[in-house]
């Protein structure tokens, strides 16, 4: 694991939240080869959650990664490492092989602040199985300072390699990111840090650059920004802008040209006004996503009135 900049492309994992992981094997293989040629260090190829625990009725290979299947998809690993994300309570530890028997290199654990203890138990287990590990504390913009301090006391003692700053709601700006990075670094002087952004306010790339300039060296992104709601920082922007001899833009352009334009026609993500509004209000995009699925999808003023009305704040279940 390098101390320098590492890009983790999350197109399959976070983009799968847009299209229920409706990615062909051909696309995933094309993407792996392109990312490898582009010099991208990691590809997050999906979730390694348990279909049993999620009571899934249909197969969903990128949501429920299986080592045997992955070996068929990527029979020959190249420089780009593979990563998977797991959620607390959704991963079955018995599904996870020791790293030397797996094509996965890194397992990242996503958790909310109240579950950091459970998250760190999983981290410990994956660490012992030989994986690189990361802890992604979600919805950071809504975490009270004292809870973060308590969580960091536990994180300090953990073998976790990378601690992520996750702007789940796309509500942070570069000043906020700088503040958060300095806080994380001050409280966890011996850890590496990562940044995962959403593009609700067109700040995902700028926030990622700000984090990098402040010493964060694991940078999440997706090709053409494909990720839930407003999407993520764009992989093509990172590989063209960051000064690193191994990065090449052209292979990523090839993927956008061959696949992403059609996918963007079929599925929606990116800078879309209701997502901008949820970002600016520091709210989960799920209300906006439901609105975009309704026939009122372009009634922006009505949407704004709805989410800023006093009634909106008494219905936490929809937030």
């Amino acid at each position: 694991m390098e101390n320098r900049t590492n890009i983790i492309d999350c197109t399959i994992r976070d983009g799968g939240l847009v299209n229920n992981w409706d990615f062909s094997v051909e696309f995933v293989q094309d993407l792996y080869h392109a990312l490898n040629e582009a010099g991208v260090e990691y590809m997050e190829i999906g979730y390694k959650n348990s279909p049993k625990l999620l009571k899934a009725s249909e197969p969903n290979p990128w949501r429920f990664l299986d080592d045997q299947f992955l070996k068929e998809v990527i029979p020959e690993k190249k420089n780009t490492k593979l990563s998977a994300l797991v959620d607390i309570g959704r991963v079955d530890p018995d599904d996870v092989l020791p790293r030397e028997q797996s094509v996965l290199d890194m397992i990242r654990v996503a958790c909310y602040i109240r579950e950091v203890d459970k998250g760190l138990e999983l981290v410990q287990m994956f660490h012992e199985l030989g994986y690189e590990t990361a802890l992604n504390i979600m919805a950071l913009s809504s975490v009270p300072e004292n809870q973060l301090i308590e969580a960091f006391d536990m994180v300090k003692e953990s073998p976790v390699d990378v601690v992520y700053i996750v702007d789940s709601f796309g509500s942070l700006d570069p000043s906020d990111i700088e503040h958060q990075v300095k806080k994380f670094k001050g409280m966890l002087p011996n850890k590496k840090f990562g940044i995962h952004t959403h593009n609700n306010m067109q700040l995902a790339f700028a926030n990622t650059l700000t984090a990098m300039r402040n010493g964060v060296n694991f940078l999440d992104s997706s090709v053409y920004g494909m990720g839930r709601a407003a999407g993520n920082c764009h992989t093509e922007l990172l590989v063209t802008h960051i000064q690193k001899a191994s990065y090449e833009l052209k292979p990523v352009l090839g993927i956008i040209e061959k696949h992403m334009l059609d996918m963007r026609q079929k599925w929606e993500w990116g800078y879309i006004i209701p997502y901008m509004i949820s970002g600016t209000l520091n709210e989960h995009p799920r209300v906006a996503m439901a609105y975009r699925d309704s026939e009122d999808r372009d009634k922006f003023v009505e949407f704004y009135d709805k989410v800023t009305s006093p009634e909106a704040s008494v219905a936490p279940a929809t937030k």
Copy 2:
């Protein structure tokens, strides 16, 4: 003219470069009222260039602003002031009335670095006619340091109110902007500053925020980003994000909902791969714009090869 933040909405002026100023009077009136309700301080309602000097064969009211026509469009001025842009060699001084006879409040002069002397002559004249003035030095990212220093020596002596940092090619990032702002402020301690950005690398909003945090208080933007090629910083992002009691997002959402979605279907601007490439290469978007007008519009790899080939650099006329 306030010392605090001022937004100058350029939707008509820069957006006109997208659609040859094919804006209805109704749209311009709706926009003026919305910007006024949103608390936006200025609306740049077009160019005040001369149809004679440009040998224009057809009327184009927002490109060749006429005071009598403007008074019919905006019979009652409200808080939002009106601005016009002029180009060196394209404006006829005889067309410009004294400010008290005009609905315009500010005239901005766009020039390249080699024309700063001519630009300042125009500024002097508009200043004497009573207008607020700005000098917009274009293509800053390609200006050699010594030429900038020479230009500033002239600017210092001028009555110009606002000196603009213009990222014409959308090639600057927040670090670059911070560097430029500090340089401008250091060399012109008695001037106010403005920022005009393009969104080729999704950095227009972040660059504008960076400029603001470094003391720039004239911020150009366009509703839904409508401006040439990749477009500009989005007005809706500024009014929702900047802490100023008078700013209101809702009127801008109304304009987007009523007009901009349809306009975006009809005309193209925004984050589009060839514009991202021209931004990252620090080049004028005109080659990319021509490509987008051709049947090869989505051949991104071919476009990239073309503009990065050794031959590309021997054809300055197409750059």
